[in-house]
């Protein structure tokens, strides 16, 4: 028996050592100082690097085309990987300790903004390096999903939540909270939204719920931590939801809400405009569906792109990011997919949500710590009971 244990232990030690032996060397340095170099120097350095690896989790059609255009224009090979949101970030996190990572740049969004910024995965700031950065949605350079991103992440596109409904079954789409409440009470189980721990559209609904039932969102602005007194009356929001639990339909993801609308199970839900447009384009949602931002407000945001700290090809990464944020590419993305660009200098028509809607009714998320609290409290006080 002793022999067995000894053998086991030795093997264990060997493997643990293999792991622990991962020493951290300094991150690879570009030959030029990217923060102070001129843009032309960066382009030259990028061409010398010869390739770039980019990770996203949606729009394979757009990104493939963009990659082809990039290769044609600069002669730099693009390794494009469309993966899964969770898998992409888990990979980036697992490579954090490596001197050289395998990802050069990636799309950043959702709850991962906080995780990745806290783990300090990105190199930057890049706001002053990317050309025409002032033409990209200024607010998105600074704050994303309630997290301060300080110019590290370049806006890729803006997206917006709103109410998505089937006009054949909803004749008077609600604009105020009272109207929505009345509609839900009159049409049990026909309004649905996803569990906020599983997607942003559900988070947006709960965000608006808190705004309307506990006295607005202005009081949270600027807080870097949860102030207990400000959330003391959140039980009003939970009571509202819990007392209507039988009349609400909970779904399991952003896409699931849209799928159930398509399936006829629900008639109204919260959705992301880019997501909705994508599903419509691919025949997964009927084209008569309509979307709007109600007068009571719905949160908006966007996705961004960041350069990984341990990327061995930072110049190429920067060049690729500038390519995606260029006027032609942003226009192309819009024409291909109907997804709202991050650039503010493009005139658009045929968007799902109107420009005035966005200007008037879009809300900014409250700071991230409140968002996290909102999610866990919702699960505890509404879903669990």
């Amino acid at each position: 028996m002793k022999k067995v244990l000894l053998v086991l232990l030795v093997l264990l030690m060997a493997s643990t050592l293999a792991f622990a032996a991962g020493t951290k060397e300094a991150a690879p340095k570009a030959d030029i100082d990217l923060q102070s170099a001129s843009w032309d120097q960066i382009v030259e350095a990028a061409k010398a690097e010869g390739e770039v690896t980019f990770y996203a989790w949606y729009f394979p059609d757009y990104f493939k085309e963009a990659a082809n255009d990039f290769e044609a224009q600069y002669g730099i090979k693009v390794n494009l990987i469309i993966g899964d949101q969770t898998a992409n970030f888990n990979k980036a996190i697992s490579e954090k300790g490596n001197a050289v990572g395998t990802i050069d740049a990636m799309i950043v969004g959702g709850q991962w903004v906080k995780t990745t910024m806290d783990l300090d995965l990105f190199w930057g700031p890049i706001k002053d390096i990317i050309p025409e950065s002032d033409k990209l949605a200024p607010s998105l350079w600074e704050v994303q999903e309630g997290v301060l991103t300080k110019g590290y992440l370049a806006p890729f596109h803006r997206n917006q939540t709103g109410i998505l409904y089937d006009p054949e079954r909803v004749s008077n789409p609600p604009q105020t909270w009272q109207e929505l409440e009345a509609w839900i009470d009159a049409n049990p189980k026909k309004f649905g939204f996803n569990d906020p721990s599983k997607g942003g559209s559900g988070q947006s609904f709960v965000h608006t719920l808190i705004k309307e039932t506990t006295g607005g969102l202005e009081k949270y602005v600027g807080d870097s931590d949860v102030v207990a007194s400000k959330v003391a009356n959140w039980d009003k929001a939970w009571d509202w939801a819990y007392s209507r639990k039988d009349k609400l339909t909970f779904t399991v993801s952003n896409n699931d809400s849209i799928i159930r609308l398509n399936d006829g199970e629900i008639a109204m839900t919260f959705g992301w405009d880019d997501n909705v447009k994508d599903m419509m384009n691919k025949g997964n949602l009927f084209s008569r569906a309509k979307m709007y931002i109600p007068a009571m407000g719905a949160a908006g945001g966007g996705d961004t792109m960041g350069v990984l700290k341990n990327s061995p090809r930072k110049a190429a990464a920067l060049l690729f990011i500038s390519h995606i944020t260029s006027l032609e590419q942003q226009k192309k993305k819009y024409e291909m997919l109907g997804a709202y660009p991050a650039r503010t200098d493009i005139t658009l028509s045929g968007t799902l949500l109107t420009e005035e809607d966005r200007a008037k009714n879009a809300l900014a998320w409250f700071p991230a710590p409140y968002k996290t609290l909102m999610i866990s409290e919702f699960v505890k006080n509404v879903l669990m009971k």
Binding site: L5, Y55, Y58, I81, S94, K282, N284
Partner: protein
């Protein structure tokens, strides 16, 4: 006839879900398939075109189907001696070993992947084909070992004793007794190892991409967070079809031996 009845049930049980996937893969993007339509309003090959144009599905298919057979072979070779010992010898700590070999399965995939990827990095196995084979072998071995162990354990001792009495050498024992008698378990183990390798996602994504893409890495882009049924159907069918064809071929090939293997013919 009972068999005919079962066949019918099976055709429905398996066929209907697959039929629905086929229909979803043929949905015309311009004409969404919604309630109350029982069938898509119009058909089109657009979803297929989309997947072939915008994903590296051909490369992924090649990678998946070249890693899997090697992973099966390697897990068989590595598991064979261990299964023999665990199946036929009553060594101290046997129960511990039986539990330890299950560990790759027990730990949730993403967590294991996070840690294992570091080990693979350290050993220089990241972004290599050999690394992928090792990773898939690791995930398949619990099945292989446990199933073959049971098979070894069920070989009756008197058969072995009889052979020894007749002066059979070790080589003959392996060739003519052990291998044939563990055959059903071995085949089961190999099938499990194969399917485990084809389905392996978490570790493969971290240590394989961007150099290698496999079918699951493409599948998850349409089935994970960003769930799009139409494209997901295409990738699923592309994945299932070679498997199912192979299944029928293998079944034909092994039909006679397989079902009647060691059915008390001794």
């Amino acid at each position: 006839m009972l068999t005919a009845f079962f066949v019918l049930i099976q055709l429905l049980w398996v066929g209907i879900p697959i039929l629905m996937a086929i229909m979803w893969s043929l949905v015309n993007p311009k004409d969404a398939w919604s309630y109350p339509n029982i069938f898509p309003p119009s058909f089109s090959l657009e979803q297929w075109r989309y997947v072939f144009n915008y994903t590296n599905i051909a490369r992924a298919l090649r990678t998946s189907y070249s890693v899997a057979p090697l992973a099966v072979l390697l897990s068989f070779l590595l598991s064979l001696p261990t299964s023999y010992v665990l199946g036929r010898k009553n060594i101290p700590g046997k129960k511990v070993f039986m539990l330890v070999v299950l560990l790759p399965m027990i730990m949730p995939g993403m967590v294991v992947a996070l840690f294992l990827s570091r080990v693979f990095s350290m050993l220089g196995l990241s972004q290599t084909f050999f690394g992928l084979v090792i990773a898939h072998t690791l995930m398949s071995m619990p099945y292989m070992i446990r199933v073959m162990t049971t098979s070894f354990a069920s070989i009756p001792q008197d058969v072995i004793d009889a052979a020894e009495n007749l002066g059979a050498s070790t080589f003959v024992k392996i060739k003519d007794i052990f291998l044939p008698m563990i055959r059903p378990g071995l085949i089961a183990g190999m099938i499990f190892a194969f399917t485990t390798s084809i389905e392996e996602f978490n570790l493969t994504f971290i240590i394989g991409t961007p150099t290698f893409e496999t079918i699951p890495t493409i599948l998850y882009s349409f089935m994970g967070y960003n769930f799009i049924r139409t494209n997901a159907s295409v990738v699923s069918l592309l994945m299932m079809t070679p498997n199912i064809i192979m299944l029928f071929i293998v079944e034909r090939f092994l039909k006679s031996d397989y079902l009647s293997a060691s059915l008390g013919k001794m």
